[in-house]
């Protein structure tokens, strides 16, 4: 261990890798790459295939008439089945479960989905089938390459994907999903998912996009905090902050506001802090700051600006909140100046869906709002499976066909969606506004449910507000 030439080379290689990673949010994805990454079915790993028939077959379920089944559905029971006499529907989960940037949110999302499908199975399953989302759950570390590799591994054995985390990750395999009729529920809220040119009609989004959130959020702000003459949009470039900033610009155009400052930033683990954002906002002096960042960045920005005498207010997107923020030094500023925006009811909601979600934890609180997301986003897949089963076709093609016109009411947790449309026909805009409150569960008290503003109806929602990367 005394040679020193090799470590330098190794370090340079690691540094170069870091360079690529650090710039990845601004890198244009090469659409050609997804073609190359798309797995050929015959090359896929078959060793994970569950025992039992997988070719097109006809099953006579206990709970209904004859149902045609195919890939990802077996007559044999699921591993550790709740109902041993039922067949099994295998759903994939591609999420960030250990070391990626969204693991803190993705783990409760996945936990909620497991709890949701467990209660479905305990209620008898779907048309004679239990639903298994454990066997083909894979950790993608929020990396497109890992996501694509995991997808290739599980694709032959799943009927659909119950959770696909990350827009760019999902896009990396979308062409193959299209070729194989794999429907997916995304754990991301990019505006492009409302358009089949982007998602091939395969993505079942839950709630509004970040772009719409910005528009409706600013409408709500105007109604509740007075006229807005200037806006700052702070966020991570791409499908999250970029979409939110695009929504702010659309809102400004529709409402005759000229002063919009877009301030891109990155997570603290990359930037080390948000001082540059604080300076930029202080210089712009906007009436309201839209935040599309992580919880740590949210607290630092709001806390430092408030401490510096900034008099505007803040609207934070869904992922900006974590209950632990109320333990931070920024808590007083957050309570006084910040509102949380969400497309779904929060833990203090009263809908039937929210009550069922709370019951799944027996009164305990989850670590953060990821659990709510996971629970809500299970409804579209549940409704889709039931509709396909009722139509007698639980194949991938059957599911894809059943998406058209599928109505999902989310048991009141989120605004109802009718899938299969384009743009404004499928997009919803119901906004839940919350206020930080240490006494409220998960630290957010709902102050306005399903607010609808005028701006969304005025804009031409004919294409994605922003690029996904």
């Amino acid at each position: 261990m005394s040679q020193r030439t090799t470590p330098r080379r190794l370090l340079a290689a690691v540094a170069a890798t870091g360079l690529i990673l650090s710039a990845c949010t601004a890198v244009e994805e090469d659409p050609e790459t997804t073609e190359e990454e798309a797995p050929a079915p015959e090359e896929s790993d078959e060793t994970d295939a569950p025992a039992g028939e997988e070719a097109d077959d006809t099953e006579a379920p206990e709970a209904g008439g004859e149902v045609q089944i195919g890939d990802g559905v077996t007559e044999e029971a699921c591993p550790e089945a709740v109902n041993p006499d039922n067949g099994c529907i295998y759903l994939g989960v591609l999420s960030d479960l250990t070391e990626g940037p969204f693991a803190a949110l993705a783990v409760p999302i996945t936990d909620a989905q497991r709890a949701y499908w467990a209660q479905v199975n305990e209620a008898g399953g779907i048309a004679g089938f239990d639903v298994d989302i454990d066997t083909y759950t894979r950790d993608t570390k929020y990396q497109p390459a890992e996501h694509a590799a995991a997808y290739q591994q599980i694709e032959p054995n799943i009927l659909a994907i119950a959770q696909s985390l990350g827009t760019v990750n999902t896009e990396s395999v979308l062409d193959d999903m299209d070729a194989n009729d794999i429907v997916a529920v995304p754990a991301s809220w990019w505006s492009g998912y409302a358009f089949s040119a982007n998602d091939h009609g395969l993505i079942m989004e839950t709630g509004y996009s970040y772009c719409i959130e910005a528009m409706v959020g600013l409408d709500w702000f105007s109604e509740n905090h007075g006229e807005v003459s200037s806006v700052a949009a702070v966020g991570y470039p791409g499908d999250y902050g970029g979409d939110s900033a695009a929504g702010a610009q659309l809102w400004a155009e529709a409402n005759g506001v000229d002063d919009v400052t877009v301030i891109p930033t990155g997570p603290n683990q990359v930037t080390g802090g948000q001082d540059a954002v604080v300076s930029a906002v202080m210089a712009a002096e906007p009436d309201v700051v839209l935040l599309a960042v992580g919880p740590a960045e949210n607290a630092e920005i709001v806390g430092k600006l408030a401490g510096g005498g900034f008099t505007g207010r803040f609207l934070g997107s869904l992922p900006t909140w974590n209950p632990a923020l109320l333990d931070s030094a920024a808590a007083p500023a957050l309570v006084g100046l910040y509102n949380h925006l969400a497309p779904t009811e929060q833990w203090d909601g009263t809908s039937a869906g929210t009550e069922a979600m709370k019951a799944s934890l027996n009164g305990e609180l989850p670590p953060n709002g990821g659990y709510i997301i996971g629970w809500v986003m299970s409804y579209p897949m549940h409704a889709l499976l039931e509709k396909a089963a009722e139509g007698g076709d639980l194949t991938r093609a059957g599911l894809r066909a059943a998406m058209d016109g599928l109505e999902v009411d989310f048991d009141g947790m989120a605004e109802a969606i009718t899938y299969g449309g384009e743009g404004a026909d499928v997009a919803v805009s119901g906004l839940i506004v919350g206020t930080p409150n240490a006494e409220a569960p998960l630290g957010i008290e709902t102050s306005n449910e399903f607010f609808h503003g005028p701006t969304f109806d005025q804009v031409d929602y004919a294409q994605a507000c922003s690029a996904s990367s």
Partner: protein
Amino acid sequence: MGNLVTAVLAGLGDGAVYALIAVSFVIIFRATGVLNFAQPGLLILGTFFTSVLAVDQGLPFWVAVALAMLIVAVISMGIERVAIRPMIGRPVFSTALVTVGLFIMLLILAFRLFAARARTINDPWQLDQWCLVQGEGSCTVAFYQHHAGKIVVVAVVLAVLGLWLSRSRTGLAMRATSLDQEAALAQGINVGRMFSLAWGIGGALAALAGILLAANGSVVQANDALFALVALPALILGGIDSLRGALVGGLVMGIVSALARTYQPVHAPWLGPNFENVAPYLVMILVLLIRPYGLFGTKEVQRV
């Protein structure tokens, strides 16, 4: 002018943490020749233990810091004894890959420990600031106390470390080991103990860096461990075997990042978002083109 002052002050604060991380790499590298890519894992464990001790257990902040550094130092020494010592005599590349594996293990452990929670560390600076220039109703040039705290803490720690390495018997033994292990052994120095000590100090410094990273009045999460990798350009810039280089490299990189973050979006928006993350690497590449061994690194002599 106000933006420049703010950026430089913030850059010095961030740069101090970069420098500390870089020094933690250098200490281990000089003593054992191993680039320890597990440092990010040790960094975030330091943050976690401080949070547990200072927030959950209610210990005074500086007591929690000292205990957390001690715990991480013991973990680091354990890693060296169990996973690194058996690699002596093996190719350096193999040892480095072992540390990459350790990094992933420690990161996953950190995610388990954080359990999807964001944490605070109850640092004394929080969001307090000194307003250097007061505008109309708001502060236009602020110096956050956590930046000042980082600069002071890093300066004191590195000064003490430098004195210890140059004046104490053990410090001299460690330096002798880093210069020539066989000669040190011949002089009766327990080289194995020096290895262990270097890993312990490196781990403790990484833990302190993690604590300082989290000291910004906000919250910290497990994936903030990756911040340690941002210090790699500082390490290369200064020279990977130079403590002085690590300090200078860290400060330079902190200021470069802060200036790029402040001015690039205004004056060169065509470079795209997040350019401040790329800027340190560009500086590093430019310096390496002129000085391949970094600003203060040891130039290798090769027989031909």
